[in-house]
Structures are given as structure tokens and as C-alpha cells.
Symmetry: D2
């Protein structure tokens, strides 16, 4: 008894030659019911390692039986992937207008509030969830088909969200610039953070800033709170969404991708998506911060930079993060300047180029972090 | 008795060579007291015509006596002006991260609320306004000097806002892509719309979206409403701010610049900034819309486009806006497709390139517009 | 008895998603023998008007009977067409390495010399031409299939040249930046210049600089000269190739395209490609220069520019071409600087942006031009 | 007795704000006569490590006495350094027209031939060299001041060449994309290759392709050959020029820079530029190729790539260089494709992005290489 496999293509845009740009959908259906999973990668075009992770997942799912259904969407932004500016990929935003490809998903708290009013006390959970999915997806559909149209990034995002909103588990695979592995986890799903093999965890509140994980969990979290408020009884709607950051952009590595596929399977196994599987989370140290303690350090000066602190290392306040060379002062003591850690921190990622202007995101850092799990 | 003239430079950024990038400040002080005026141009680097307008204003202010003080800041974004991508200027956003150069100004409604509480019923208006300016500017200063730093666009914006927030009149000169003249006017200053020689007026509510005009008037408008609420008496804080769109980007024209300088002087004259001057608003038709009726028409398809409707013309519903060529279907009836006006409208601007992807801002249009002044 | 029509697609590249990028080939075959014609457009991605010209040609060829065969290749560079950098199309060069899309065609004078040695005195012209075509195309084929591969632009160019080298007439349709109509004509085909309705003609020598027209006529011209040398008898190999510049880039206009289609048909009619057609060259003034008198005027300074001289107009030495604004000197006499014509000239095109660095191609100009045909 | 130190700035361009862009010149003059040395870095804006090398050289030259004169020019392309496209630096070419910043130097074999005719048999070598320098520099000056002007890249190149042509030793410091150390050495100066601590050497012929090293040695080499031809006696004009490639672009490393400074000082010491110094070339293996055996491997397909072969390693024919993922075929055997070495080779550098189109320079490789020096 095998999984049922299918592949299809979703048209998400048309290029300037008037040609369709499409996204491949790989789908595995188990022979037994279970959760629906949606996994996409490369919404930012230079963040390509997720495609390798999905490659490994597909190799495994060809033989590993599943419950429910898993949809995998690699290369989910065929526009962004194909914007070269010099040798690198300018994949974070639309080159026409600067719109970040990961900020145009849909969330409407008002709609959730209206929906909450329609939920009868005795409505079965599954039926209610189904109705909720239809309501949101219909709204997205209306937006996609409005008279005046929608911007390219938003069209792309909404077409993907139409697919993703059917799922119980949504995983959006990204990469940082030069980065160590980290994961964004909604606070309510904090327990799930330890099911992945990812050492750095950012806990995020119920606040929408445009990304797919938020566009997923904000809807369900808000509904959950409203229903709890209304009925006085806590209800678990059991939908989770994560953004996984799998190392650095502009690089792929098949071995690392295998590790990350295994990490995702550990989580999925714990969530009862796999039939008789053996994937277990690693015994490892995991460190967490709340979102407001995940800090960006901006440069005050322009120049060329050596990044002295490695992503994932621990720094004490005052230890050197970076050293800047000033090409106009090479003969005197202003030739170099050292930027130090403003407090104890873990640098998670740094800017990928040695050349920076003032106001550049030099490092993103965990501050006031705490231990989530300890290696034993 | 002449105006006093001075010129200085404000450092707003450092480039990747570690060199200062600065902005010229031209300042005229009248011998008699009066309003403070702040005029800047080219925050979007490709929108250069405002520099010509400021050139003409300076020529006139060399002999035209003024009340108060006028500060003119051409080329206010030396970073954006200098980003070439191909032959054109990629001046709308930071090429590193996509941040729009005109969205990082500061507004904090909470701070205004706190300030309103400190206003005594008998505090003189001038003193109160001065205190308010200090409070906002101090907050901006704190942000500019925070430990973790700020992004480049925000640094640039806040340094300019420090200057602009001193003024009673703020004018931010922009250009559209391929565009006819239009102006953004806060609803409370609607009467001032007719003091400029600009035929198309967009009336905007008290809502902050990051631009300089909003960052100016939202502070004062909010304060005004809070004080009215508190005292029950309407008070006019007498600060106005506008975004002027002076035709198309990537083009300068000295004659058109003279027209626009004259238009601004008409407004300033009406506001008692000029001593014994003769500048009067033209007798002309002015048409207005509220912001929610200023609509963007996005393409559904990619292809190459002839823009059939001229900015500033009137179109009936169903009349052709654009014709798209489909290079893959040249021999059959799908070779061209016509995009028509979804309702009666005035196209104000259109996309500047013939090549469009799906989801491109093809036209921005006035819909449900109304007459503000009639030519007699 | 109709033309036979077919459409196919040629794969010229793969994008970063691993997907084929292809070029449409529209082909009309007459029922009677005659010349082979090859017409392509948009090798530079922002130069899109040629696609409209080809659209009109196709409309006409659906009913106009032809001799021989006409192949039309619009949108012949699907890579270049789709590189947006800001709102405009960065279509002149590969964004990865700066390679001009129109400089990678193949010409090898040595191969022509070797071939000339193989031509027997009594070899029939048609057979010899056919053998020559095979020899060149085989060489191109070898390059396309070499072990170490070829760069993207060169691959694209050679695949198109494989098609074009079969033709007796090759027309490559371009646009200038902001430009009036002009045409590049090999000196030996000077008589053909007056068969098009194009007022400005550049006569080019037998020198290869990488473009398609040169890659065509240099081969035939060199062979012709070698054969003449060898036999002492002039032979007309009767192959012509032209680059047509149809106005400005980033703009399409269906009416102008009709004019240019008609102009091309006049030429084709004179060359016996059309059956009983009525297309005649216009009675109009045509002005010509030799290539070395087609001059580029570079800026010495950076700044923003008003282009005062219209492409196609006549200027006397000393008349103003452009006026540059210096934003740092607005209050004094260095505020503006005027650039004047260094000699009598016709500006043919100018830079498309108002913002220029030092060393920018401000204008390209006809100097020492002469009358080719006069309007009577 | 110290070296005399001076610093000045050379204006090489004006930006679109009309502001000068300048290059710092650091100059050390020894108290005793000796060779003139010219060292520049970062003509390609993303290749910044050379600035660090120059920083270390300056630290040492503050105390190390020299013979003659050493001019150091870091950040020699302030335009290229400051072109950001996304997070990276688009520093290889002018973003306006695609011109490589390292291809606009001047070489004119005709001028050398004319000069050779003027050399009297008894003209002292020093005087003749001086006259030659003046002749070339005057020609460059004429070009810089011609009526119609020059392109930006060429202006920049010629202004630097004016300085460099005074020198007996010219070193142009570059970086590869992802690269191991290598050096370009003119064949006639092959012996000097072993004076640097650089393991990979490319021997280049007397052929001008636009770069600074060629623009230097082609002039002297050609003159040398002409004089030898004329007099029948070999003469050593004793001018050498090199392009050094110091590892990867977009990265700086102060420790590596120290190593490279030391390597350059070893060469300079051997050339009698240093007074009583201790810098000796390392005992190490050096491998060389002739230029025609330094091969570029282009991709045939687009996709995302894992670079399996490390720059500087040895590969046998058939060993894997790279593995390409095909996102549309993840479930079948076409999911990945391996690109293998077409012959025995040393990969020297590879493309810096995981995303490639067809026709991308995947690797540059030494083939048919040979041992220059062996580590003992």
C-alpha cells in the first residue's frame, strides 16, 4: 500500500514576454487519513537550499508511508529566482518596486471576528474548521479577482496561500544571508520547537507582518482566542506554521539538506504524519528568544568589513563583532574601527557582502536568550 | 533690506568607500518675522524635476523679500540619485533591501497623546508649538542615536525630518513615472489646494503611511484634534504639508520648472511668506478625489504595452486605456488585447516602460472625482 | 494560392529554474521561389517596437503573396526582455557579466579565406553559396557544441545566426534610447538605403564588431572580394543585411509600427520578395554619414540634464545641445552649464535619463553628413 | 632617515549629483634612488581584499625603508565600489552600459612602432625610457581631453594609467568570485612568478585585451622586441606588471591580507625596492599554465548548483565538479545531474552563486599545467 503521488503546475505570474511562470506542486497522499502538510521553499529567490531539503523529502516520501497528505512546493517564486543582478540573485524583492516577496499574504482580523460570531456552540470542530478555511479562501479568491487587480508579489503570495490554507501544518523554508540554522515559532506552538533539530528558536507573538507563517497562524490563533473568549472553554484548533531558516543563501549543499529533511521528518513524525517511522528529534541544545529580543545591529559608518563573529557563537558584551577598514585613513589610527557586541549575544546571521553603507543590517542577534532544551 | 542667505551641507549617509554623502541646504531669512517654510526635492532619486523648481525658487528669492524663513533642500537623497541600473536611475528604493526612500519618517500617535496631556489651558500657542517641536525632535534624535542603530533609509528620512519639523509649511516635491501634475493635500487643508496651479488634487486623511507630508501633518492634526477634544474649542495650529508631483520622472525641463516655482510662490504668497509680491493662483479648473478613490489598475497579463490614454485626459467607462501585444500569438486574434477603463476616470500617471509583467501598476486613476475650482 | 504559414519555437537558453526559454519563429513560404528573408527584433530587451513592426508585417503577409520565404522572429531575446531593474528593462546586456546581447555573433575571416580557395572557376553560383552557408553553419554548430561550452549571450546569438545565415536578406530591428529613425547599411549596399523610408543612414565598412548585420555581410563581402581578386571578375553574391533603429526604446506605438512595416515592405518589394505588390519607397530626404563621422558626445561632468536638441533636427556649431543643473551651486553662476554642438551636426539619439555621470553618452550625432536622396 | 610619506586625492569621475569621486594616493619616497612601484586595488568594486593588502603594506612601509618610490592606490574605482544591487556589490562593470571596469586602458602598437624609429643607437636607456613614458602619457592625455570626450570606464582607466605608466613595477590586485590565489604573469617575466607566494600562475602572451597589466607590459614588451629587431642586440627595459588575484570577492580577511602583503614584499625585495629587508619568497609548490590552457567551463543547463570541487584542488578527468538540481524533476532520475571534469584539471575559481542560467562561467580551470617550483 503506497502513497499516491501526483505532480502538477500552478501558474503564478506572466513575464514580460507574456509567458506563464509556474510553480511545481508535488503531492503525496497516504492511504490513511491524517494531517495535511504544506511545505514551500525559495519564496526569496536566492534562498535555494530549501529546494534541496524538499528534494530529500521527496526521495524519502517515495517509500515512507504517510497519514494524510503532504504537498511540497519547491522554487515557489519563479520570478524572484530568476532576477540576476551581477552574479548574485536579487531574490528578496520585486526589482520593479521593492516589494518583499514574503510580505503580501493575507490576514484580516475583522473577517475572523465575523466568522467567530457564526460558530454555534455545538458545531463539530472539523466542520467549523472546514467552514473557516472556505471563508478565508473565498476572501482570497475575491481579492485575486478584483476589478482593479493586485500587485505581482501579492498575486504570487495569495495563490500560494490558497494552497497553504488547506493545511494543518505549514512550513516555509528560507535561508539567511550568512546564517546559522534558526526557526520562527508562534508562541502558542513553543512545544513544537524542540521537535526540529534547529538550535536557535525565535518565539513570535500573534501579530501579522505579511509572511506566510503569520498569515496562517494569526488566523487560527485569533479564532482560537475568540472562541475561548466566547465559550469560556479552550479549544485547540491544531494548526501550526513555521518559518525555517536553513543556513546561508546563494549556497546549496546536498548533505546539509539531508540533515534538514530529517529534522522536518522528526517534527512530522511527532505530529502523526508518518506511518511507522523512526525519525526522532535530536538530543541537542536549543536556545530561544522572544521576537523583541531578536535585535538588528545597523552600521553607523560605511566601509569594508571583516565579520569576526561566527553565526551561532556566543559573545560577551564588548567582544568584537566586526572590523571596518577606512580606505582614506590607511596610514593613521583611524584606518580600522572595531564594532563590539552591545550586550551578551548570539549572532545568528550577518550581511553577506564585505562592503557596507551606513545603515546596513550588519548582524541579527539573540539577546536575553534562554535555554529551551539542553543536550544531555 | 535683503533676505539673508546661507548655504550649508548636512551629512546623511556614508557610502561603501566610507565617505560622507551630503545634502545642500539653501536658506533665506527675511528681515521680518513670518512662517518657516521647508521645501525638499528628489527623495526618490529619479524624480529630478523638483531640483529645477528649487533652482527657479532660489533665483527669485535672491531678489524677492520674504517674511520668516525658507529652507530649500534639493537633491535630498544623494544615495538614491546615484543608483543607476542600466541607463535609468533606480531611485525609488534602497537597492540593498527594497526600502522605499519615502516611507521611513517618524510618527508616533502615543507621543502626541502624552504631549496633549501636558498642555495647560492657558499655555500660549506659540510656546506650546515650540514645546511640541522640541518633544518630537528629541524623540527623533533618540532614534537616530539608539544603541542598535537604524536602517539607511530611516536615517536619511529622520535627518531630513529634523529640519522639516521646524517648519510651518512643508513641501515635498516628487514626480510620477509618466505623469500629469497632481498634489496630495491633507483634508483639513483642502482650501489650500486651490492656491497651487495644479489641476489634480488628492485629499488624504489623518493616516500615517511613512511619507514626509504625513509625518508632518499627522502630528499636528492629531494634536489639534486632541486639544479640541480636551478644551472643546477648535484651535488652528496652522501647519500644512504637501506632496507635489511635478510631471514625469527621468526628465527635467527648465520652462516647466519656472511654472511650478510660480505655483509654489502663489501658495506661499497667500500664506504671507512673501513681502509685497504679486504671485496669484491661476484661474483654472481643479479636480479632486478622496484617497480611497485614487485607484491603481494592475495588469493581469504580461506583455508589451501601448499606453493609449494620456495622463490628465477624461475617459468614459469602457474606453481604451492600453493595448497589449502578445508576441506568441501574432498571427491570430489573441495578438493584441485592449484594457479598458473599468469606470469613468482620469488617468493621472502610467507605468514608464512598455514591458510589463502581470501585476504591474499600469495606471493610477481618479475615480468618483469632483470639481474643486472651475476655470471662469 | 496562398503563402504557407508555420510557427515553431526555438529554445535559446535555460533560466535559473532550469526551464527552457524560447523564441517564436513565424514563417511564410510563397508558392514560387525567391529570396529568403530573415527579420528579428528585440535582441536588446528594452527595444520592443520591432515586435510591433513584425506584428504588422504578419498581418500583411497573411494576405500578401510572396516569392521565396520570410522568417520573422520577434522577441528574439527572452532573457533580455525579462530583466527588470526598477521600472525599466535592463535589456542591453547580460546582468551577470555585462555582455552586450548584440556582440556575440560569429565571423571568421580565415574560414572565408580557406573557403575561397575551394571555389572552382566553374562552380555554379547557387551551389557555391549553398556550400558556403553549410560551411559557416557547421562551424557555428561546432562552437555551440564544444566541450567547454559557450557564454549565454554567445549561445543565444549563434542559435539565431544559424537561422539568419540561410537568408539572402537579414533585417535586425532595434531602437535607440531616445531616438529618431536611422539605419546601418553596409557600404556595398548603399543603393538599398533609399528603398527604406528612413531619413538617416549610416554607411558601414567591412569590419566585424560582433553584431548580426556585420556577422552576415562581413562573411559575404569578404568572400565576394576574395573571389573578385581570384578571378578578376566581379561577382554579386546578392546578400544584404541591415540594422534598423525604429525610434525610442521602452515605448511601443502601433501606428508608427505600421509605417515601419510599410517601409520594410518597400525594400522587400524592390528586392522581388512580394508578388504584385504596391509598396514603394517614399519620396523623402535621406541623409547619410560614414561610420567614422557618426560621433558620440560624452559628458565631462555629472548632473541632471535637459536635452535641448531634438533627435533629427539640424544644429550649427555652437548651438545648445543640453543644459546641466548643478545642485550644489544653485545660487551662483555655476548653477547651470550649457553643452554646445562641437561642429555642425544632426543629433540622432540622446541618453534616456536626465541623470548622468561624467563619461555618459549624451548624444550620438551625424557630422560631415551628406544628402542621399532629396524630397522632390 | 625615513621614507617621505604623502597622501593626495585624484578626481576620477563625477556622480549624478555633480560631485567629484576621488581616489586616495598614498606615496612613500625612499631617501635613495630605486625603482618606481605602482600598486592599485579594487578596480572591480566587489574585489575588496586588495585594500586590506595595501593597508598592511602601508603599516610596514611606515617603518621599512625603501629605495625609489612606492605609490599605493586602494579603492581605485569609487564608482564601482558603490554600486549595490541587492546585498552584493555589482562592481565588475558600469551598470549603465555593461563596460568592464578593467578593459579601458590604452595600448597603441602603432605609436610604439613610431617611437622605436626615433630611438638612436646611442640614446642612453634611462633617457629613452623617459621619452617613451612621456610619449605614451601625452597620448593618454590627448585622449582624456578630446573634443567629443570619453566613456566613464575609459576615463577612470586612463587617469589611473597616467600614474601607473611612470612605474617600473605595476601590481593590480584583484579577487576571483570564489577563488584560490593566482597570478597573471607576462611570459617574459616568468622568473618573477616564483618571487610571489602564489601557488597558481598564468603565463600570458604579448596581447592586449584592455587590462592594466597588459596596457603596461605590452607597451614595453613591444618596444623591447622592436629595438632588438632593429639593433640585433637584446635590451632589457626592466618593467614588469602583474595582476594578482587574492582569493574571493565580497570578503575581507585581515590575516590573509598580511600574508599577501608579505608575498608582495618578497617580490619587491628581490627587485631591490627595500633597504635591508628580510622578505623572502616561500619554499612552496607553484603550478603554471599558458593562457590558452586556462579554460572556462560553461553550463549547458540552468538550475541550482552545489560546487563539489574546491578551488586549488586536483581533479582527474571524469571526477565531479558540480551537481545541479532540477526543481521540476525532483521525483525521478533527472532530479540531479553531475558535471564532471572534461580532462585532468585544477579548478581555480567558481561562480559565486548557486543559481545559474545556461551559459554561466561555472569554473575556470588550469589544464595541461606544469610545475614551476616544487616545495622541498
Amino acid at each position: 500500500m503506497h502513497n499516491q503521488f501526483s505532480k502538477e503546475y500552478l501558474v503564478v505570474a506572466q513575464n514580460a514576454s507574456g509567458r506563464n511562470m509556474n510553480v511545481p506542486l508535488y503531492r503525496f497522499k497516504g492511504s490513511q487519513p491524517g494531517p495535511k502538510v504544506y511545505i514551500q521553499s525559495s519564496i526569496h529567490g536566492a534562498e535555494v537550499q530549501g529546494n534541496v531539503v524538499i528534494y530529500h523529502l521527496i526521495q524519502i516520501l517515495k517509500t515512507q508511508q504517510i497519514f494524510g497528505e503532504i504537498t511540497l512546493v519547491p522554487n515557489c517564486n519563479p520570478v524572484g529566482t530568476n532576477i540576476k543582478a551581477g552574479e548574485y540573485t536579487l531574490g528578496r524583492f520585486d526589482p520593479v518596486n521593492g516589494t518583499n516577496w514574503n510580505r503580501g499574504y493575507y490576514f484580516d482580523s475583522e473577517l475572523v471576528e465575523q466568522f467567530a460570531l457564526t460558530v454555534a456552540d455545538d458545531e463539530p470542530l472539523a466542520a467549523m474548521k472546514d467552514r473557516f478555511r472556505q471563508a478565508i479562501k473565498q476572501k482570497i479568491d475575491e481579492r485575486l479577482n478584483s476589478t482593479w487587480g493586485l500587485g505581482l508579489a501579492q498575486q504570487l503570495n495569495l495563490k500560494l496561500q490558497q494552497l497553504a490554507f488547506d493545511a494543518d501544518i505549514v512550513i516555509d523554508i528560507h535561508n539567511g544571508p550568512v546564517s546559522t540554522r534558526h526557526i520562527y515559532v508562534p508562541e502558542y506552538a513553543k512545544a513544537s520547537a524542540s521537535l526540529f533539530n534547529i538550535p536557535h528558536v525565535i518565539l513570535i507573538p500573534n501579530k501579522f507582518a505579511g509572511a506566510l507563517d503569520e498569515a496562517t497562524f494569526c488566523h487560527w490563533w485569533t479564532l482560537q482566542k475568540l472562541l475561548a473568549c466566547k465559550t469560556g472553554v479552550d479549544v485547540d484548533l491544531n494548526v501550526e506554521a513555521f518559518t525555517l531558516e536553513m543556513g546561508s543563501q546563494e549556497v546549496i549543499d546536498f548533505d546539509e539538506g539531508k540533515y534538514d529533511a530529517s529534522s522536518i521528518l522528526s517534527y512530522l513524525n511527532a505530529k502523526h504524519c508518518l506511518v511507522e517511522a523512526d525519525y526522532q528529534p535530536k538530543n541537542m541544545q536549543r536556545v530561544a528568544v522572544t521576537l523583541e529580543n531578536y535585535k538588528i545591529l545597523y552600521t553607523r559608518q560605511g566601509g569594508i568589513v571583516e565579520y569576526m563573529a561566527k553565526p551561532g557563537s556566543y559573545l560577551k558584551e564588548g567582544q568584537p563583532l566586526a572590523k571596518i577598514l577606512n580606505v582614506d585613513e590607511l596610514e593613521n589610527e583611524r584606518a580600522t574601527e572595531t564594532i563590539t557586541a552591545p550586550c551578551d549575544l548570539i549572532p545568528i546571521l550577518h550581511f553577506p557582502s564585505a562592503s557596507v553603507l551606513s545603515g546596513t543590517q550588519l548582524y541579527k542577534c539573540f539577546t536575553h536568550f534562554f535555554l529551551l532544551t539542553e543536550a544531555t
